[in-house]
Symmetry: C2
Amino acid sequence: MPLTVMCCSPVTEAPLSEADAEELARVLAALADPVRLRLLSLVAAQNEVCSCDLEAPLGKSQPTVSHHTKVLSEAGLLLGEKRGRWMWWRVEPNRLAAVRTALGG
Amino acid sequence: MPLTVMCCSPVTEAPLSEADAEELARVLAALADPVRLRLLSLVAAQNEVCSCDLEAPLGKSQPTVSHHTKVLSEAGLLLGEKRGRWMWWRVEPNRLAAVRTALGG
DNA sequence: CCTATAGATTGACGATTGTCAATGCAGTAT
DNA sequence: ATACTGCATTGACAATCGTCAATCTATAGG
């Protein structure tokens, strides 16, 4: 699901429709949490990160980390791949670029 | 209060500190609401907008509009000026640009 | 099989959020 | 002064959110 907001015109140029505003707000809400921002930056710094390597630097419990990775991946910002017992995460770079564009690129 | 996040390195390049993540999350939280996104785009579309001209297009009550303008201005995204009985709003364009940069410009 | 492990899910809790009715307050006009 | 107007503030409510303990699922190794 691409950001339809970005295909048209950014926030600064024309009034947003209710639907576009809802859509953009959903992605921004996924980003608007300090733990998720740090999680995202941790994954971006390395190329791929296993869930098990996120608990310590984030200082959060395993269910909490799992919750946040789910929110980010449902927002299209993170891509997960299960290999064996481990879950590997990497960022979806286009998604963040789309948010920047929608914000007035 | 400038975004210290943006002075250093965007989310995609290095792990965020807890303080930077908190700060960026606060601005993003102000943006992560459909009504506020539409409010912001309405103000951006015209140069200046009076509070009284926001209730109808947003379909929200006067206290609700007042609440949202407060949130946006406290986040540094909107600038308010009282002239007579009317409150005039305009966007602080640098702030949105800072958010874009912090998001991986 | 059985045990161990990485991660997801559930349920519960307090905290925060968006909304509006009611009220308060400052500025205008009569 | 009195009445009106535009906006802010308060208080209340339901809804959502972040967090963790407990539990469940799936995979790996004996």
